[in-house]
């Protein structure tokens, strides 16, 4: 990467790599990397530029969806590469972008969102219960159960179950019914918010108070104060 000045930077508390090295296989090629670093740092350490595959670096954006396998274990698991440490003998590869279909909708205009699910995502009720999506989810969401809850109209449960969903999309490529469970869940959660959740009364009152100029007197008073007076004042409530 040419656009840089970072090389000069030293860490306030110096990056301390463990002297112990482990061998990992990245996209089929073996590399020696310091024990304990994250998979993404292992890629950097191995000299690989990564653009697709890095996002928040904090376990929230799902950009770094990765397949991995530990030594001698045949099971291929999933993880977020920014939030997983390397182990000796581990093999891993990024998940390529998967072309799942997202339905488009205008939530406010929907008349019967629970029914509309079946026109927007007609594949959703065709779930064959294989549970592959649940096994693929790095956030340990019971994805299969979520798909059923959505189909049965329990959007509230879906919205609670999928609050941890980072939209990494790892549940989609494994689905034998071509469902993208995360997108179905996102639709159900938003519909829950738009159509099936109470409007908070206190908020409406506060907006009305602001429109009616109920705070004007207080504004007039405090905007005239000096910094020192402002330090020591509190606002009157309505």
């Amino acid at each position: 990467m040419p656009d840089t000045l970072n090389k000069k930077n030293t860490l306030d508390q110096k990056e301390s790599l463990q002297p112990k090295m482990v061998t990992v296989e990245i996209e089929g090629k073996p590399f020696q990397v310091p024990a304990g670093i994250t998979l993404i740092k292992a890629l950097w350490y191995a000299g690989q530029d990564v653009i697709r595959g890095v996002g928040c670096l904090g376990g929230f954006c799902g950009a770094c969806a990765t397949y991995y396998r530990t030594k001698d274990d045949p099971k291929v698991k999933t993880c977020l590469a920014c939030s997983m440490a390397v182990e000796d003998g581990m093999s891993f590869s990024f998940m390529p972008a998967f072309p799942a279909r997202k339905a488009t909708y205008n939530l406010l205009e929907l008349k019967d969102p629970k029914q509309d699910l079946f026109t927007l995502y007609p594949e959703a009720p065709l779930c064959r219960n294989c549970n592959a999506c649940t096994e693929a989810c790095p956030q340990h969401i019971d994805v299969r159960e979520g798909v059923w809850k959505a189909v049965f109209g329990d959007f509230k449960a879906v919205s609670e179950m999928f609050m941890d969903c980072v939209m990494c999309g790892m549940c989609a490529p494994v689905c034998i019914a071509d469902i993208a469970p995360n997108l179905v869940a996102l639709y159900a959660s938003r519909a829950q918010g738009v159509h099936f959740t109470e409007k908070p009364e206190g908020l409406a009152t506060r907006i009305q108070e602001i429109t009616d100029g109920r705070f004007q007197q207080e504004w007039d008073r405090i905007l005239k104060l000096s910094d020192e007076e402002l330090q020591n004042t509190t606002a009157a409530t309505t």
Binding site: L11, A46, R190, E198, P200, E201, R206, A236
Partner: protein, 525 residues
Amino acid sequence: MELTDQRNLVHQTRDARRSKSFPKLSPAERDSLIKKHHPDHRAHAYRPIIFGPNAGQSTVTEVATLLEGESPVPADLDLTPAYSVDVLVVGGGGAGCASALHAHAQGANVLLATKLRLGDSNSVMAQGGMQIAVASDDSPVQHFLDTLKGGHMKNDHQLLKVMVEEGPSIAKWLLELGVLFDRDADGNLHVKKGGGSSKARLLTCSDYTGLEIMRVLKDEVLNKKIPLLEFVAAVELLSDAKGACTGAVLKDLDNNRFIVVAAKTVILATGGIGRLHIQGFPTSNHFGATGDALVLAYRLGVPLVQIDTFQYHPSGGVYPEQLVGALVTEGIRSEGGHLVNAKGERFVNELDTRDVVSSSIIRECEEGRGVRTPSGRVGVWLDTPLLDVEHGPGTLDKHFPAMVRQYERYQVDIRKDPVLIYPTLHYQNGGVKIDVNGETPVANLFVAGEASGGLHGRNRLMGNSLLDLMVFGKRTGTLAAERSKSLPKSSLTLDHLKRFRAEAKRHHVSAGIISPMVLPAYTNK
């Protein structure tokens, strides 16, 4: 002493600590603590900027060097546009998505370009919540006062008044889009207390507030079919003969080609600076937080404000090594978590403002009361198990599922054991100068979100950023769209760059550094 023994001290002292409260510091004590220990006051890290709109003013070397850097765009670049739009939004975080949606709602022809994927940003990581004065015992005026005190009275009053007053209508907008804020039993929005605030004012979606807002906004950008360029970064702006902004030069990171965009208005929503690792600090920020808007706007002649002050969040991870710099949510302290030094003592009121709390942690560590990790870092304890003791078992699971998971991945159970923390580079307090509509002094160039400056003074209060993004996303998007209707097509030139290069030459600056940075160079070469 082994880490386990150190940790036991936290368990042993918990009951004694619970029975005592720790007083807040007086304004004078706060000031002297900050002057002595806050990284903003380490003179050796600062230098004056040599030329440009902020010439002579001091900022950290990392930022000064980038501002004086060289544009990657050659003077003779063919400026035939690949796109011609009303509104170009640069950045796909919270501010960018909000601007794009509001501009689209006004009927403008919008293009959104972002460096990584849509939504890969700082916004998606916001856990603590969003401050809006909705509670009946609260008011926008009190929100204003708290923010001002937190910002050391240096906040721009006009920007701040706009933000606090428009807060409630923003909450309404987000609810209408389906954002699921936590509720009280009576259906009202649940509010939590945040550091530096006199009232409970934080709206939350458990500890996934930013993620929930971003899932919804991203989905809506896609529903509206707003044209999107992902893995495309803005590297230079374009101007006309009058110096107004008329578009941008983007760079496609997949094939390194330039893309010229003619835009009647441009909104920069590129977020913060964490990845500059100012003063060598680790950071909580996303991969693309390299301060690009500061550089782009500066070269077009826009001044920056309060660009000498940064927020070091008190609780960045220091152990395990994989979590170094990662944010440990402030929510833990809001709900009563203690900070504890190596002697098992509290040393600050945990709900004081971030600059005070960070300074006190640095003080403890500098004066030898920090705890060493096996890899040689220092930090202090954040007593997480205390929350389950105080509010009943299951509190951490219920209120902080993201954090429980964050540590579980490395076999640390925060329900049983405290965690080690040290300040992490978190937020750019200042930024590009804007007015109440988010417009810069250069016509038709807008800035929204963390990239802009003035609103937060010298220390941003927790939860005010998410609100800032939504309010100024709305204002910039709406005005840019309206403005573009009456604007004729203008010319696309790099005249400002010619002037900038001439000035660099006149000052004998040849840093040899290309800016904006776009992405940090972490790859071993």
